[in-house]
């Protein structure tokens, strides 16, 4: 089971407060978590539950108001730009909207070159870089030769999403945070993206953290599920335990409200 593995990312009393006085909002409220190496974790919650805020703190994009995040057992230090860059070699993210994830002014090969540089491959000979980029594109069924001189907006949504996965292929992080990676696509492309993510995980053996409101998705992919409500974890455990035998009323309601195909969808309880 996952608990035998090494700790990868963990948190004690992680809190984020926005604003102060009357506008004080506690987005994430003293949460504790232990994510293990190679585990697939889902953070599930409705809009406004604080799941994206927590993801941003995990990524070091925003600071925590209180509490500590530990990376591989060590207290995480992201106090300077250089330290942040060092940390980002280990943790990367893909977001729901591929259109806003790329710098519109950077050509695709620049985007991919940046990834190679971040991995310390800046001084490699040009042919090697091209080979790396071609491999990454092949992995997600894109043709690098066709992309080199293009800007991100010239690609279709599906291609961009795949390009994001190609970036991760080059970066080979220890942890990947996927923030609603499939909420903007239809069921069919969702399966494609999940396929690539799972293949990628096998390839580079990373920990995957899904941030999602899609309970079905969480159940399908993850080992461990955390249910979030108002900035707190209300329930956590293995996917089977949480989804099939939920204990908390909130979790139960969430699962009840999803349309299903084997059970009757009870519309009277709204």
């Amino acid at each position: 089971m996952a608990s035998n593995r090494n700790l990868c990312l963990s948190g004690k009393g992680v809190t984020k407060v926005f604003g102060f006085g009357r506008q004080r909002t506690v987005a994430v409220d003293h949460v504790d978590f232990d994510f293990h190496e190679g585990e697939i974790i889902s953070l599930v919650g409705e809009s406004g539950s604080g799941k994206t805020t927590l993801a941003k703190m995990l990524l070091g994009l925003i600071n925590t108001s209180e509490g500590e995040i530990f990376f591989q057992g060590q207290k995480r230090d992201i106090s300077s730009g250089a330290k942040k860059r060092e940390y980002w070699k280990n943790i990367q993210a893909i977001f729901q909207d591929p259109y806003s994830a790329f710098n519109t002014f950077h050509k695709i090969d620049e985007v991919l070159l940046d990834c190679i540089k971040l991995r310390g491959g800046g001084k490699l000979p040009k042919e090697e870089k091209v080979k790396l980029m071609t491999d990454a594109c092949n992995f997600v069924n894109l043709k690098f030769a066709e992309l080199t001189n293009k800007y991100p907006f010239e690609l279709s949504g599906g291609q961009m999403q795949r390009l994001m996965i190609a970036r991760i292929f080059l970066l080979k992080p220890r942890i990947l945070v996927a923030d609603e990676p499939t909420s903007m696509v239809d069921a069919c492309s969702r399966a494609t993206i999940l396929d690539y993510l799972m293949k990628l995980r096998e390839e580079i053996g990373m920990t995957l953290i899904f941030i999602t409101h899609d309970i079905g998705l969480a159940y399908y992919v993850s080992d461990t599920v955390y249910i979030m409500e108002h900035g707190r974890f209300v329930e956590s455990g293995t996917a089977d335990a949480v989804i099939l035998r939920p204990k908390e009323p909130y979790t139960r309601r969430l699962i009840n409200d999803v349309p299903k195909i084997y059970e009757e969808w009870d519309l009277s309880t709204v």
């Binding site: 069921a187 069919c188 079905g216 399908y220 089977d240 059970e263 969808w265 519309l267 709204v270």
Partner: protein
């Protein structure tokens, strides 16, 4: 209630190219039934919805086919006439993300006033007020909403308001295009319950429900049509479409369903490789042949009609029902 025969509509692009987004679609909805339309993004679901209303404006153009609403043939009517006498009264349409189209500077009641007066300028303010209040109450929405601005309402409430407004002139057929996709699960359920109530109380007589979320469609629709590249590829009852699809595309689509129910984790999610064809110059043969793992040599050249196999059951594939079933058994 609504019958459509061989409807074809096209988009004309800036470069005068024709894109046939709806290609020879026929459908029929009986009173009290909900027809679901499924398909991936870009397959023509929303264009079909637009075309069904008989209200065409550039770049969408009518090419051929007939639309008959409750015995009235509206083919060939002028766009202006359609807007005045058909839309809202015979057939109402809730576009995708309609709730974001509410004017933020006007109260809901003023918006309703605009809608009603556009169809009949003789209504007085008092009449509109009374009518709006009565129909909101019938639909179980609080009447206070009428005096509020859109920003004061939650997403779910906005969507339900939009639905209430769209049926305010008691149309016979309601076309709902992804009415709940932007909402969280609880609001989604409330919207669906409202639509179901509309049907049960006879407020509307028939509904077309468009979405790519198959578990939702399964729960809402009586019959399901699967669209691919502008064509209907499968037509069946909801149960058949989900559990026993015939067309390879429908099969692939149903294989991508994710629901939080036991048995899902052991099931293998099927992804369909590739992407739909460009409709500017669609392939001569089966439009799905490029991506189909059961495709044969003649699939790419032979154009395939929609075969009726049983009452309310049709699919578009050169393989016979038996061949398909056998292929699925071996493929899994």
């Amino acid at each position: 209630m609504l019958e459509v025969r061989d409807l074809t509509t096209k988009y004309v692009t800036r470069y005068k190219e024709d894109v046939y987004a709806v290609d020879h679609v026929s459908l029929k909805i009986e009173e009290g039934k909900t027809l679901g339309i499924a398909g991936e993004s870009g397959c023509g679901k929303s264009t079909l919805a637009l075309s069904l209303m008989g209200y065409y404006f550039p770049p969408l153009h009518y090419t051929s086919g007939e639309i008959i609403i409750d015995g009235q043939n509206i083919t060939g009517m002028k766009a202006d006439d359609v807007r005045k006498s058909i839309l809202g009264r015979e057939i109402a349409y809730i576009p995708q993300a309609a709730m974001n189209a509410l004017n933020p500077t006007r109260k809901i009641i003023d918006f309703i006033g605009d809608v009603v007066r556009a169809h009949d300028p003789s209504w007085t303010k008092q009449m509109i007020n009374d009518h709006a209040r009565a129909s909101f109450e019938r639909l179980g929405l609080p009447a206070e909403v009428l005096q509020k601005y859109p920003v004061e309402l939650s997403g779910g409430m906005k969507q339900r308001t939009v639905i209430a407004v769209s049926v305010i002139l008691s149309p016979k057929v309601l076309i709902a295009d992804e009415p709940s996709s932007a909402l969280d699960v609880t609001s989604q359920k409330m919207v669906i319950k409202m639509l179901r109530d509309l049907m049960d109380t006879g407020f509307i007589k028939a509904m077309i429900f468009i979405t790519h979320e198959l578990p939702l469609l399964y729960n809402v629709a009586d019959e399901i049509m699967v669209m691919y590249a502008g064509q209907i590829v499968e037509h069946a009852t909801a149960k058949q479409a989900v559990f026993d699809p015939l067309h390879p595309y429908a099969k692939g689509l149903m294989g991508s369903i994710i629901v939080p129910e036991s048995g899902l984790r052991s099931a293998k999610l099927t992804a369909i490789p590739g992407s739909p064809p460009n409709l500017k110059n669609p392939p001569a043969g089966c439009r799905f042949a490029e991506r189909c793992k059961y495709a044969r040599a003649d699939c790419k050249v032979m154009s395939v009609p929609l075969y009726d196999v049983a009452y309310k059951r049709a699919y578009r594939c050169v393989l016979t029902e038996l061949e398909l079933r056998r292929a699925y058994e071996h493929g899994e």
